[in-house]
């Protein structure tokens, strides 16, 4: 790992100032970034830890009933305290392993937008709002492809707001060695329709499956998905599975999520 300066501001304003230099980089829990630095795939001159910012910690309930999670809140805390949105708490409880969940943060996961991460599926399927130091971004506008988001340089995810659905579930088909999602599907049923977000499968990162959403909005049952299929052409193909295999899994895992949620 190349060396860098370490800073740990206590306010969002101080963090934004510390991130102003071009080669400064925000550090959430470090569960992806530190391994990345070890491989010398990144070489920031300054790392700005967001863990010392009290206002970015914790889970609370908004006036409209939504669940608000501070950007620096770790997965274990979400698992323990987001019980008002059980599928979200359950998703957090199965990210990585226990030690990783004690460090990794929701803001870090969403800022990184790993194509196999769990939280992007939860945020997109929930129509969450990603709140930053300067604006609010709808999940539909936020995710812009593998490792790519609407965030500007130096912009910090300070909070994520999740509207709580009537029913929801996340199912993850894990790659057995890494335990990352080979395909993960988050299904959320709201009064105005069903949203389905899929992670792990696409070369473009997390995406919504519009055809399945329409079918499930009409009939929230696994058989509503019979005959629906996605193309494997733009899916990730690697030694763990071809694009066609992942495309097939999308239907199977979506059905499992609907079964579990219904």
């Amino acid at each position: 790992m190349y060396n860098f300066e370490f800073e740990k501001p206590e306010t969002v304003a101080d963090a934004v100032a510390a991130l102003a230099p071009e080669d400064a980089q925000a550090l959430g829990g470090g569960q992806t970034l530190i391994p990345t630095l070890k491989q010398r795939l990144a070489s920031p001159t300054t790392l700005v830890s967001l863990k010392g910012i009290a206002e970015m910690q914790g889970v609370c309930k908004g006036d409209d009933g939504s669940i608000c999670i501070g950007g620096a809140t770790n997965h274990a805390t979400v698992a323990a305290e987001a019980g008002d949105y059980p599928a979200l708490a359950e998703t957090a409880a199965h990210i990585g392993d226990p030690a990783v969940r004690n460090r990794g943060t929701i803001g870090g996961s969403l800022a990184n937008n790993d194509p196999s991460a769990c939280y992007p599926a939860a945020a997109l399927a929930s129509g969450a709002t990603i709140v930053t130091n300067s604006r609010e971004i709808a999940a539909d506008d936020y995710f812009q492809g593998m490792f790519t988001t609407a965030l500007e340089d130096g912009e910090i995810v300070t909070e994520v707001r999740f509207p709580v659905p009537e029913k929801a579930n996340y199912q993850k088909f894990v790659q057995p060695a890494s335990r990352f999602a080979l395909v993960g599907v988050f299904v959320a049923k709201y009064s105005d329709g069903v949203r389905v977000a899929i992670t792990g499968a696409s070369n473009d990162g997390v995406f919504r499956w519009a055809e399945a959403e329409a079918a499930l909005t009409a009939n929230f049952a696994p058989e509503a998905l019979d005959g629906l299929s996605l193309s494997g052409d733009d899916m990730i193909s690697d030694l763990h599975g071809t694009g066609a295999y992942r495309a097939h899994l999308c239907n199977v895992i979506t059905k499992r999520a609907v079964t579990a949620a219904a």
Binding site: M1, Y2, N3, F4, E5, F6, K8, G30, Q31, I34, P35, L37, K38, L47, S49, K51, A76, G96, D97, P98, A99, V100, N102, R103, R179
Partner: protein
């Protein structure tokens, strides 16, 4: 270089570190607490698990600077005050929960974290909790037995599958 100060196994510890110094490196190289092992250095194996402010973390994937001001517990602080093995360590010995022993510090620290939050875990909960601790010798069965025994539960029903 910046100075970090923390409490390690109940004693004040401090040292000068670079920004990039890992907590595992600080513990091993500067404090000479080499019981914390570095197996993979990619946050997969869990041999480096320590407790920071009461929760299990992988010390190879945390910066020493991030632990400034924290209360850190390592395997060196786990034995009873008289030097005898604590309940978890003794159970690992009694049930042959180790062979080469390389993963054992992390296993013991993860077990301590598990039992703190869940004093009587089921076998399935034990196996799920150990997802981030890799052992290449035992096949896990005797580790699971040791953890069930350490939590005061009957291990007779746990067969070596």
């Amino acid at each position: 270089m910046t100075q970090v100060n923390m409490t390690v196994n109940g004693k004040a510890a401090s040292g000068d570190v670079e920004g990039r110094t890992l907590l595992s490196s600080f513990l091993r190289d500067q404090l000479k607490l080499t019981g914390t092992h570095v197996g993979c250095d990619t946050s997969q194996c869990g041999a480096c698990v320590v407790h920071v402010d009461g929760v299990a973390v992988k010390s190879c994937t945390m910066l020493a600077a991030e632990a400034d001001g924290a209360d850190v517990a390592t395997i060196e602080g786990q034995a009873n005050p008289d030097g005898s093995l604590n309940v978890i360590q003794q159970a690992f010995q009694d049930h042959h929960g180790l062979q080469c022993g390389f993963c054992t510090p992390g296993m013991v620290m993860s077990t301590a974290a598990l039992l703190k939050g869940n004093p009587k875990p089921s076998e399935a909960e034990v196996r799920a909790y150990l997802e981030g601790n890799i052992c290449r010798c035992t096949g896990y069965h005797n580790i699971v037995k040791a953890i069930m025994a350490a939590s005061g539960q009957d291990v007779g029903a746990i067969a070596a599958e």
